[in-house]
């Protein structure tokens, strides 16, 4: 589905990242990553624990800075941006779904979905409320919209988190083990939901997962081992990790 004519959502060029720079235990975690994700791709990022998957996602999501290399979001360079500009770009262009700390417990499900828009616009308005309600409806949680975030089940929380990740209509959604804490049925539901949104909106997804079953259901599987991409192919060709 991603031929050379499809617009590029994410481009990484020679991204390196070390931890503990300036200390005796400085270690490079990402050793020069090149990666291109095109609009509408639904890619799995797999690899053993400690291989650098979360680190890579944080760097892509502009939460962390690479040591060297370039990250382009929709072909726009991101290095050297002021923190506020980076933050605004992150809020607009990237949706996050995390494994832990899904939601803000001080707010209702609906308010959590509104939050990225609220941070960007500064004040609540009817349009963001309606958009958030629509997204909650899309993830099947309309009956729970006014429940506090901690008063709904883990699977429901993760659906709210997906709705929230979509609030700003970002071109790219990064999910770090979004189903890691869920039972198989909820995991399937959450996964299907992301797939549906991917198909309907042509939103690009990069999903870290340890579950080979789910990885097999992605269009493309990128495998990271020791901070290097060792395999990257359309699903039919991918070698199962193990």
């Amino acid at each position: 589905m991603a031929d050379a004519a499809t617009p590029v959502t994410l481009r990484l060029e020679g991204v390196r990242k070390s931890y503990g720079i300036g200390t005796p235990v400085a270690t490079e975690v990402l050793h020069g990553i090149d990666l291109v994700l095109r609009q509408g791709e639904f890619a799995a990022l797999i690899g053993p624990s400690g291989s650098g998957k979360s680190t890579l996602l944080n760097v892509i999501g502009l939460l962390d800075h690479p040591d060297t290399g370039r990250i382009l979001i929709e072909e726009q360079a991101t290095q050297g941006l002021e923190d506020d500009v980076r933050t605004r770009l992150r809020g607009r262009a990237i949706g996050f779904v995390f494994q832990h700390h899904h939601l803000l417990p001080e707010f209702t499900a609906l308010e959590n979905v509104m939050m990225p828009l609220l941070a960007a616009r500064g004040r609540p308005d009817d349009e963001m409320r309606a958009r958030a309600a629509g997204l909650l409806d899309r993830v099947g949680l309309t009956p729970w919209r006014d429940h506090m975030a901690n008063d709904i089940s883990g699977g429901q929380q993760q659906r709210v988190a997906i709705a929230r990740a979509l609030a700003t209509h970002p071109p790219l959604v990064l999910a770090d083990e979004p189903t890691g804490n869920l039972d198989t049925r909820s995991a399937d539901g959450v996964f299907d939901l992301m797939r549906e949104i991917n198909v309907a909106n042509r939103t690009t997804f990069l999903i870290v997962t340890h579950d080979p079953r789910l990885a097999q259901r992605c269009d493309r599987i990128v495998e990271l081992v020791d901070g290097r991409i060792v395999a990257d192919a359309a699903n039919a060709n991918v070698v199962r990790r193990g």
Partner: protein, 407 residues
């Protein structure tokens, strides 16, 4: 979520609601501290007002008089000379060229009014009754601008003319004198005059009501043998507590002796400055405790909410927004605490009023709390809260979202 409420305020209020117990405890703590500060501020203001009321009521803040004559020993009298030198008795003397001195004093910027006075001892006689009195000769138009005598007249008129005399309530009782009665004043110079009681005053001070009598300047000049002269010039100043500086300026400008009420009531003021120092120290330390309390609650909150701060940052919340989110919490804690503190301080005031009473039920000490005090407290506490929140807010704003989310 109101459409007019900014994001930072919404989030700050939710954070505080989520930690309701923490918030309530710190607001209560700030309230207690604020109540103590408000009450102590009122007490200090009350103390100063009471001193002003009790002394400046019937006393000018500055009294200017001729410099003391220095007694000189006769030269060459030998070893015993020091012992033989005695201060001369200070007879009543006029200020040299007092009109010029008066004009010079009037030109000083801090001076609001000045009036010439002739005063000295004498006796008031009526029938068999005879009382030692202190005679004050005044120029009513200017004197009333310095001492609020006119307001204290409780019977009769404030007019003096050449034969009028104003006496205090106690003296009127002692002599059995009423308005329109005649009174005879005599002095050590042998002069004697018969005067009409035109008014009776009450300064709220027994010895003043007993001993002071007011006559016209000319009458006093005749009685005290000081024709054309004045024994002192009484001066009113803008800030009574700055009177000592003005007194020194007057001395510098005129060479006359100038005594401020601060000097003449020195023990009073020593006691009061001790009060001011302890009171201020207590208020400063209570304020610091309040600020530290707010700061520590917020520091803990920043740690507790680390992951949420990280998520907010991931969703596009800027550092500035996170900073304001915590500053608002500090400001709110200060403001809410000060409102509670105002209520508590008013409670302390009622208790104080019930306890600090003379046996006859009149207050020992008049203590008031004016609305501006509460307004100042509210603004001050909000500022203290904001300042206390600076360090926690900076910590929150600088949190690395990656670290915060990993938890």
């Amino acid at each position: 979520m109101n459409r007019f409420t900014p994001f930072e305020l919404i989030a700050a209020l939710r954070f505080m609601r989520e930690g309701a117990m923490q918030t309530l405890l710190i607001v209560f703590g700030v309230g207690l501290g604020g109540g103590v500060i408000i009450f102590m501020s009122a007490a200090l203001a009350g103390l100063q007002a009471n001193i002003v009321r009790r002394t400046l009521n019937f006393q000018a803040p500055i009294v200017v008089s001729a410099p003391d004559r220095v007694a000189r020993p006769l030269r060459g009298d030998g070893a015993a000379e020091a012992a033989l030198v005695q201060p001369r008795s200070q007879q009543l003397r006029s200020i040299d060229q007092w009109q010029k001195v008066l004009a010079a004093i009037g030109r000083l910027p801090e001076v609001t009014a000045a009036t010439p006075v002739v005063s000295g001892p004498g006796f008031a006689l009526r029938g068999d009754a005879n009382r030692a009195v202190s005679i004050t000769g005044i120029e009513p138009e200017t004197y009333f601008a310095v001492v609020a005598l006119a307001d204290k007249v409780v019977a009769g008129r404030v007019e003096l003319g050449t034969t009028g005399i104003l006496i205090g309530t106690e003296l009127a009782k002692d002599l059995g004198a009423a308005i329109g009665d005649k009174l005879r004043l005599t002095t050590a110079t042998g002069a004697a005059l018969t005067l009409d009681v035109t008014g009776i005053f009450d300064f709220g001070n027994k010895s003043v009501n007993e001993r002071s009598v007011f006559v016209s300047l000319r009458t006093a000049q005749n009685l005290l043998n000081l024709i054309g002269g004045v024994s002192s010039i009484e001066v009113r100043v803008r800030d009574p507590f700055g009177a000592e500086d003005v007194a020194q300026a007057i001395h510098g400008a005129t060479g006359q002796q100038a005594d401020s009420w601060i000097r003449t009531n020195a023990q009073f003021f020593t006691a009061m400055s001790a009060q001011i120092v302890t009171n201020t120290l207590i208020r400063v330390f209570v304020g610091l405790t309040v600020a530290l309390g707010i700061a520590s609650v917020l520091i803990v909150s920043v740690v507790q909410k680390g992951a949420e701060i990280g998520i907010l940052r991931a969703m596009g919340t800027t550092r500035g927004q996170v900073l304001r989110l915590f500053l608002i919490q500090g400001g709110f804690m200060g403001l809410a605490g000060s409102l509670l503190g105002s209520v508590l301080a008013y409670g302390f005031l009622l208790v104080f009023r019930a306890v600090a009473q003379n046996p006859d039920g009149t207050p020992i000490f008049i203590l008031e709390m004016e609305p501006p005090l509460f307004a100042v407290a509210a603004v001050g506490a909000t500022v203290v809260g904001l300042v206390a929140a600076v360090v926690p807010a900076l910590r929150a704003a600088r949190l690395d979202p990656v670290v915060a989310i990993r938890g």
